[in-house]
């Protein structure tokens, strides 16, 4: 049946964006549980967590590909297409970094995290969870903005972005503190290297979330 009317409607990329943000959040939760597991010493399902993350990552990847692949040439969006792609890319990097963190941890899983640093790492991970949870809220608010274009809603999105920046800053401060503590508390250079790098990776989770926020800021710019 000839329905030119239908061919005009392309499925909304915002659905996918939201879904992707949820996947990122799920991934971050798994990551947090994995870190907790390592810290608890008797970690038997660490590999299980890695597999989970792997699975989530490939699901998120599929969503990403679906969004990119289903916006044919000549599609007009409520936002700039490439801004959207860059946003998506940044959101996806959050996921990649989470995966990378877990991989890095697994290279020296037996050693785990020294007892003196356990609390610090817990705090650091908790600190980077905040921006990630904020991310999916931000996407939800942005969707609302793109449907009613009200200034009030725009302010709400901007508030979320500001919160994101704030959380990132907090995580940054914590990251620095943890690094300082690692250098002072740990003697073994291999352990120092491993832990410093781990701290950096965890810290960069928040960085990418903040970057995603900045891209969103560009999308909601008038």
């Amino acid at each position: 049946m000839r329905i030119p009317f239908i061919t005009m409607f392309v499925s909304s990329p915002f659905d996918g964006l939201q879904e992707h943000a949820e996947k990122v959040k799920e991934c971050a939760w798994v990551f947090q549980r994995a870190i907790e597991c390592i810290i608890e010493d008797r970690c038997e399902d660490f590999e299980h967590f890695r597999k989970d993350i792997d699975k989530l990552e490939s699901e998120a990847d599929a969503i990403k590909r679906r969004i990119r692949g289903h916006l044919p040439k000549g599609t007009l969006l409520a936002v700039d297409k490439f801004e959207l792609f860059r946003y998506l890319g940044e959101q996806d990097k959050v996921l990649d970094v989470v995966e990378e963190g877990l991989d890095w941890l697994s290279f020296r899983a037996a050693a785990g995290i020294p007892e003196v640093l356990e609390k610090d790492f817990m705090l650091l991970v908790a600190a980077v969870m905040d921006p990630i949870e904020e991310l999916s809220k931000m996407v939800a608010e942005a969707r609302k903005y793109f449907s009613n274009f009200s200034e009030e809603q725009r302010v709400r999105v901007k508030d979320k972005i500001r919160d994101l920046r704030h959380y990132e800053h907090e995580a940054d401060k914590l990251e620095d503190a943890v690094k300082e503590k690692i250098f002072n508390a740990i003697e073994d250079p291999v352990a120092v290297f491993h832990l410093i790098r781990l701290t950096e990776i965890i810290g960069s989770i928040a960085d990418h979330a903040e970057n995603a926020g900045d891209m969103m800021r560009a999308m909601v710019a008038k």
Partner: protein, 408 residues
């Protein structure tokens, strides 16, 4: 002349077939935004479209019927009644076949353009290229370009207005209720004007243009406010998106508006050539003007309604599943733009395509950033089939003309 009655019967069959095609195809475009935005159910859409297409065809339809028939092809060719008979029949069949082919191949063609192309083919066969009124044809082609653009501009402006005055406000729900009378009044104004200018009833009143404008304005405003009074009774503020709820109710009205405009506009595509056949058989000759009997318009309307009834369900079902990004405020803007464009064009006697008007409306709303993602590439497809439809229908018409000449 028994054979001429046979032709008339064949004419009826082809005319009905064409009307059926129109109904089956174009109902998607007129009801899509209402069904897509979940303003009405599939069953309601089919019912509304069927009934209002008939009403639109019978009461507003006559004007366009004549323009297509006599405007583009010179009436000189009609002096030979036999030739005219075969010509009208082949034009009808050619257009119907081309539309069927397009339906089968999922091509975005316009039933209006098909019949214009088929008429041209017949004209060339009967009197050579000189009988084609190229100036008039140019104007018609121009109207094909102008109508989607006009619908696009209307859709854009309407959605921007809704955003500015309703959606972006602190309390969009009460704002929507406050402004609803204006939106309804504007739509009613166009409908009442078409009724006044074009229906036999309106003509018998014989009121001048300024007075008609005044009457339409007063009536539209009065009815608009009355409609909102009724609206308020039926709408309860349920959740945050109360404004969408208001427009959901209004959209029931606008989808009626579209169906009415569609009936008025499209019935001519099936009935125009049939009217010529009918007149030739009844009177033996055909003049510059052929009055279109009301029962023929009714016949065309019924044909369209049958097409809607039989094929509509499947089409609507697809639409309901595929269009998920359209909300009621958007759907209203699309409906309003499409129907107003078709009404105005129909009033001016221009054969425009409802399909293209609806597409234009969606584009306008898309340009106003109202829809998450709109594929604009369809423009190129439509342009391609604009260019293809006329010669394709013309050639088909020529071939059928040649074949029919052998038998009749």
């Amino acid at each position: 002349m028994g054979s001429e009655y046979t032709v008339l019967i064949i004419g009826y069959i082809f005319g009905f077939y064409m009307a059926w095609n129109i109904g089956a195809n174009d109902v998607a475009n007129s009801m899509a935004s209402a069904v897509g935005a979940r303003a009405i159910t599939i069953r309601q859409a089919i019912f509304i479209a069927g009934i209002l297409n008939i009403i639109g065809a019978v009461f507003i339809g006559s004007h366009v019927t004549q323009t297509i028939r006599k405007g583009i092809v010179s009436t000189d060719i009609l002096t030979d009644p036999h030739m005219a008979l075969i010509g009208a029949l082949s034009a009808l069949l050619a257009a119907a076949l081309w539309v069927s082919f397009a339906t089968w191949k999922s091509l975005p063609v316009s039933t209006t353009h098909s019949i214009v192309g088929a008429m041209i083919g017949f004209g060339i066969m009967a009197g050579g290229f000189s009988v084609i009124n190229w100036g008039k044809l140019g104007a018609v082609v121009l109207s094909w370009v102008i109508s989607p653009v006009f619908a696009m501009v209307l859709g854009f402006l309407m959605f921007k207005t809704i955003v500015k005055f309703i959606l972006s406000k602190e309390d969009p729900f009460s704002q929507a209720l406050k402004l609803a009378p204006y939106f309804i009044s504007i739509a009613l104004f166009v409908v009442i004007l078409s009724f006044l200018f074009k229906t036999p009833l309106g003509k018998s009143l014989a009121i001048g243009t300024p007075l008609a404008l005044l009457v339409a304005l007063a009536l539209a405003v009065a009815l608009g406010f009355l409609a909102v009074k009724i609206l308020r009774k039926f709408i309860k503020k349920t959740n945050l998106t109360g404004e969408e709820e208001v427009f959901r109710k209004i959209q029931i009205g606008t989808s009626c508006y579209v169906a009415l405009a569609q009936g008025a506009n499209d019935v001519a595509n099936a009935i125009g050539p049939l009217a010529v056949i009918y007149f030739l058989v009844k009177t033996g000759s055909v003049g510059a003007k052929v009055p279109v009997p009301v029962f023929l318009l009714f016949f065309g309307g019924i044909g369209i309604a049958c097409g809607i009834g039989m094929a509509g369900h499947r089409v609507m079902d697809t639409i309901g599943r595929k269009i998920t990004t359209l909300t009621n405020t958007r759907g209203f803007s699309v409906d309003f733009a499409a129907a107003t464009t078709v009404m105005v064009a129909s009033k001016m006697g221009l054969p425009v395509s409802t399909t293209h008007a609806a597409v234009g409306g969606v584009m306008g709303v898309g340009l106003a950033r109202g829809i998450d993602a709109v594929n604009f590439r369809i423009i190129f497809e439509i342009i391609l089939y604009w260019i293809l439809t006329v010669p394709a229908a013309a050639i088909t018409s020529i071939v059928i003309f040649k074949i029919l000449q052998l038998f009749i």
